[in-house]
Point group: C2
DNA sequence: GCTGAGAATGAACGCGTGTTCATTCTTAGC
DNA sequence: GCTAAGAATGAACACGCGTTCATTCTCAGC
């Protein structure tokens, strides 16, 4: 099958693929371009070249450059939210503490902290102030992420004696993670994934002493 | 004096001012423009119009657009660093705890968290990955800020019984502040300055119990 | 009051951009 | 095997950008 596909493509001048495939190719190319030259310098010519496709194809599948950029942002946020939900909505963990450990592990996994993705993430953050569409996508993604973290923290807080302000702790944790990501992006040699994980765990152990065990 | 200046300007077609004044006018206009339309959409025409000056003046004082942008970033980071140094290098505080309180107060002051400034700050962060010059300015500023915070934390840590990892606590605190700023920028109605201050204080009290008093 | 140095202006230019669309090519349905 | 639908192409276009520079204007030094 694989061989047949390759052979059948070899002699053809054009390859026709489903819309969804083309869209993803272009989105991935856009991510690489943004991380290389920055959101403010990305051009359609560059993206289509990076994708190995013709000049007009982006407009065919996204109509306007702005749409491609928006879909790229959505792609990144959706992927993160799906990954986080897989952990926090799962019923397969034997304890909340274990679930929390898995969350930290995920947040500083290679996949999430990949330079390409984080560059895209913060590039859009940087433009969000002046672009309502970006702002909304970022805010929605953040809200979704915060909600499930708060739920877990509520559970952990209820199980211990010391009272905590769940809202403040959630806000603090989310801010801490964002800040650590930013540091990883700006100075990767000073802030490694391992270091960031340790900082996050220290914060959590301070708030939820029971997880230390 | 004031009257004379105004009167003397009224009839003139052109006003000639020192280079430093023009440069600052243009930098301030650039900041307003970035926060309004985003770093990727700022044009020289827009900036010079916002500054109430002619088209060519930016090139006269900065030569290239890129230089104006770099100087704008430097302006913002320098201002912050000066403000932080004023607190952390001062010998006028009666205790380290008091100094720490002043730091938090400063970091979430109106002046620092002003939407215009924070938009500029994060706009450049977003482009830093692909622009070595931005990256260096941001990294240098961060390093300077971190150094004096670490010094204060070392002092506070030495004064208490419980041992802390000063490096990790400093990294965590800096990341927390960055993350809180980002939240203030992206969702100002959800994360207020007061709330952010409380979150920061909670973090610090967890690490340095003595300051609670 | 003159004058030279240089600050300020804004029209003009060339280039690179996003977008369009006539054309070419592929394939599913018959 | 034919054909219609539509996916893919890339040359062409119009526009807006950063930058230049001839010209105008200001004022300190004499």
């Amino acid at each position: 099958m694989q061989t047949k596909t390759i052979k059948s493509l070899a002699g053809k001048k054009r390859v026709i693929l489903p819309r969804a495939v083309r869209r993803q190719q272009l989105i991935l190319a856009t991510m690489r371009c943004i991380s290389e030259v920055g959101l403010s310098s990305v051009t359609m010519a560059q993206v289509t070249k990076e994708a190995g496709l013709s000049r007009g194809i982006a407009n065919l599948h996204f109509e306007r450059k702005e749409n491609l950029l928006i879909e790229t942002l959505r792609f990144v946020t959706d992927e993160y939210n799906r990954g986080q939900a897989e952990i926090l909505d799962a019923a397969t963990f034997s304890s909340a503490a274990e679930q929390l450990a898995a969350l930290v592990q995920f947040q500083f996994s290679r996949s999430v902290t990949e330079a390409t993705k984080m560059a895209v993430w913060f590039a859009f953050y940087g433009e969000a102030t002046s672009r309502p569409t970006y702002q909304k996508i970022c805010a929605d993604s953040d809200a979704r992420a915060a909600r499930s973290v708060r739920a877990l923290f509520t559970q952990l807080g209820a199980a211990q004696e010391a009272l905590i302000d769940v809202g403040a702790v959630t806000d603090g944790y989310i801010a801490l993670i964002d800040g650590l990501w930013l540091n990883i992006l700006l100075a990767p040699q000073k802030m490694t994934r391992a270091k960031a994980k340790r900082v996050a765990r220290t914060f959590l152990e301070g708030v939820f002493p029971s997880i230390k065990a």
